[in-house]
């Protein structure tokens, strides 16, 4: 500083040029998130789309080679893949169906407050807070025919004749469904509870004055009022069911044979497990994505109709 320069006043106003406009501020907040999304989501999405048209292997030490629709052609003409899709569909329908019924039922039971209802609700919610891998591992122990508790609970008290749920091709899928229902029914219950609590009491009071029965009240008041939230729960659970992976790997590894080889497990097998067919696995992942988008669209259209109607 020059000696003859006057010192600035102690309470100087900030220069107008240094002020950050609202637009700049908002961009400062948005861009880091956008960059993160582009790097972590958007780029891999498009890059994997590109890879699905190549014969790329992540460990082959050679660049991707364009092969057009060959991966899709091979996958869609493979009976095993269609079998895995059918299996995943069956799993999704049964599992989500049971979760909806049980979750909704639990919500109806817990709708009215009673002593200890808060504690019971919290306890019921615990399974969905656990890691699916951990759940898979401890249910594997519970399903063990020798020392697992599950067979005892369902009435098979003799380990010598009790079913081996995870080693039986006819039962393995049901074992996975049972664990999925146990884990995720509370999620459906939670959404239904919030829907039920939003129904105004005067609707039921008016129905009671008109001498409407319990079944009529349920069909004409409860169900239509909860339906939007119930459909959202079903939508989320259906998407998750199509992506079922960690629970299956923890319980059966896709076996025995291919009895529980869900489509996500098949993608994993193709992408890793010594195969590293990255291109073909990407193509299969895109086929699954298209199916999930289609199914979600059906749900969303139904949801909109319910809301309008």
């Amino acid at each position: 500083m020059l000696k003859n320069q006057a010192a600035p006043p102690a309470t100087s106003q900030p220069k107008p040029g240094r002020q950050i406009s609202d637009r700049t501020l908002s961009q400062l907040f948005i861009w880091p998130t956008l960059i993160l999304l582009i790097v972590i989501n958007i780029f891999p999405l498009f890059y994997s789309l590109f890879l699905s048209f190549t014969n790329y292997s992540a460990i082959a030490n050679r660049p991707p080679e364009w092969i057009g629709f060959a991966n899709f052609d091979r996958l869609l003409n493979n009976d095993d893949i269609w079998g895995y899709f059918a299996l995943t569909g069956r799993y999704a329908v049964i599992s989500v169906g049971l979760q909806t019924v049980i979750g909704f039922g639990l919500a109806l039971l817990l709708r009215k407050k009673f002593r200890g209802s808060g504690v019971i609700t919290t306890l019921i919610l615990i399974p969905m807070m656990l890691s699916p891998v951990v759940v898979g591992l401890f249910w594997k122990l519970m399903f063990n025919p020798s020392y697992g508790i599950f067979n005892y609970l369902v009435g098979f008290t003799n380990p010598a004749t009790a079913p081996d749920w995870l080693a039986n091709s006819d039962l393995a899928l049901w074992a996975v469904i049972i664990v999925d229902v146990w884990m995720w029914s509370p999620f459906v219950m939670l959404l239904c509870l919030s829907g039920l609590s939003a129904i105004p009491d005067y609707l039921y009071e008016a129905a009671a004055i008109d001498r409407a029965g319990a079944w009529f009240q349920f069909r004409r008041i409860t169900l239509p009022q909860v339906a939007p939230l119930l459909l959202i729960a079903v939508l989320f659970r259906t998407i998750e069911a199509f992506k079922a992976f960690d629970l299956v790997m923890g319980l059966t590894g896709g076996g025995p044979g291919d009895a529980t080889q869900m489509i996500s497990v098949e993608i994993y097998s193709q992408a890793f497990l010594g195969q590293f067919r990255t291109g073909r696995a990407s193509a299969l992942a895109y086929i699954v994505l298209v199916i999930i988008i289609a199914v979600s669209n059906v749900y969303i259209r139904t949801l909109n109709k319910v809301r309008e109607g």
């Binding site: 995870l166 080693a167 076996g255 097998s269 497990l273």
Partner: protein, 444 residues
């Protein structure tokens, strides 16, 4: 600043620069650390112990990085794909070698091993399966480090119980003793299967996820005279009558396995043995140290071991386990040389003797034949015997693809009871034939 202090400052700066330049020179020329990637298991701890001895002798620190078995291959494969230099060496699985060599991940160690005479110090079978690629080429890419094979553990207290001995002899017309043939093993398994007492005859590998089922079945498959290919052919070989018969036999054995072992591999085998559920189990020898530890196994004092039995025509083979130590080709020439120095040190007979003493399964001929090794543990004699009749799955780059149909159809039939043995082997043969034709390994 005075003239003197200016001189002093200049001198100090000069001295500092000189020190820094000396340090840089040391860091560039001298390797102070070597990193080895291996699976997470006891032998890796033993290697770390040996590595600590190397550090004490040379000042070069050896780090053995351990990755769980489930993700070991993935971690290595990702490192290969990135051509990374995070690891100097890996103790890689025998099945990886084809892929690692063909894709240039492993350094050619032929001249190094031959010129130092290291190739002559290990058993030919281990050098062939852990180090050589392609088979019979005389090109080596790994030093056989951890020899391993599938062996058997059994409950001596049950076998030596007078009542059991009398009952068995009365029923089968021969004394109750560790089996020498698969037929004898089956009879013993049947004899000890007593669900009401909570005990079963035999524990066998059935795991679906990676290669467990194949590694278990191969012991029967090879001993029945079957193979994964013959004269460049798969069709008619993989689904040969011997192969089908072997599969039916393996499924028969599974009937005598403890319930809940439908997706079982090495950990589950030890579990059912330690919990007293199985009279006999198959397992890699590398997992047997736990069975002689009374703190882990309540039957440790009465646990015996025997090698894989013979098939109906006298053929005797067991699935190969174990790994060889390879140098990764993406590290600097200095680190490659330092890694070779470590292997040279490690391959010395005296070091191999210590490696065996701490629990490692040496492949050194002299150590394997020594009385000290054979009597060091109750299973070492069976191990040394087994290493003379080991046989492996494919080790070409397509091994992972070839495993997948084998795992699926074998578990489907053995565990899930799907279809027939003939159908399972036909499906495997067809799928493997297609993979090998696509890869140009065999003619269509």
């Amino acid at each position: 600043m005075s003239k003197n202090s200016r001189w002093l400052s200049a001198l100090m700066i000069f001295a500092l620069l000189a020190l820094v330049s000396i340090n840089v020179a040391v860091a560039q020329d001298g390797i102070t650390e070597l990193t080895i990637l291996w699976a997470e298991w006891d032998p890796a701890n033993y290697l770390q112990q040996i590595g600590n001895e190397y550090e004490a002798e040379t000042g070069i620190k050896v780090n053995v990085i351990q990755e769980p078995w489930g993700s070991f291959y993935d971690r290595m494969a990702v490192e290969w794909a990135a051509q990374g230099d995070a690891y100097d060496m890996t103790v890689g699985d025998s099945q990886w070698i084809g892929q690692a060599v063909e894709q240039g991940h492993y350094l050619d160690l032929t001249d190094f091993l031959v010129s130092n005479g290291i190739d002559k110090t290990v058993t030919p079978a281990t050098l062939q399966y852990y180090g050589e690629y392609p088979a019979g080429s005389g090109k080596y890419y790994a030093y056989p480090t951890e020899g391993d094979a599938v062996g058997w553990a059994y409950r001596k207290d049950l076998f030596e119980d007078p009542q059991n001995m009398a009952d068995f002899e009365a029923k089968y017309g021969r004394p109750l003793q560790p089996p020498e043939t698969w037929a004898e093993l089956r009879d013993i398994a049947e004899f000890f299967t007593r669900p009401d007492d909570g005990i079963y005859g035999v524990g066998v590998y059935t795991q679906k996820d990676y290669d467990g089922m194949v590694m278990g079945f191969q012991n029967v498959f090879f001993s029945w005279g079957a193979d994964w290919s013959r004269d460049g052919q798969v069709m008619g070989v993989v689904n040969s009558p011997e192969a089908v018969e072997a599969l039916e036999f393996y499924k028969g054995l599974y009937q005598f396995a403890p319930p809940g072992t439908g997706n079982a591999f090495f950990a589950e085998m030890n579990d059912v043995f330690i919990s007293g559920q199985a009279a006999m189990i198959m397992n890699y020898f590398a997992f047997f140290p736990a069975l002689i530890n009374p703190g882990v196994n309540p039957y440790a004092e009465v646990t015996g071991f025997f090698p894989g039995p013979k098939g109906p025509n006298g053929d005797q083979f067991v699935s190969l386990g174990g790994q060889g130590l390879s140098i990764l080709s993406y590290i600097s020439p200095e680190r490659q040389e330092a890694s070779k120095e470590f292997i040279k040190w490690f391959a010395q007979e005296e070091v191999q003797r210590r490696w065996a003493a701490v629990g490692g399964y040496t492949c050194n001929i002299n150590v394997l034949e020594s009385e000290e090794f054979l009597t060091n543990t109750p299973y070492n004699a069976a191990f040394a015997d087994s290493m003379t009749f080991v046989k492996d799955f494919w080790n070409i780059p397509q091994f992972g693809e070839l495993l997948e149909p084998a795992q699926t159809y074998l578990t489907g039939f053995v565990v899930g009871g799907e279809g027939t043995a003939q159908e399972a082997m036909d499906n495997i043969a067809e799928a493997q034939h297609e993979i090998l034709v696509d890869a140009g390994v065999i003619d269509g």
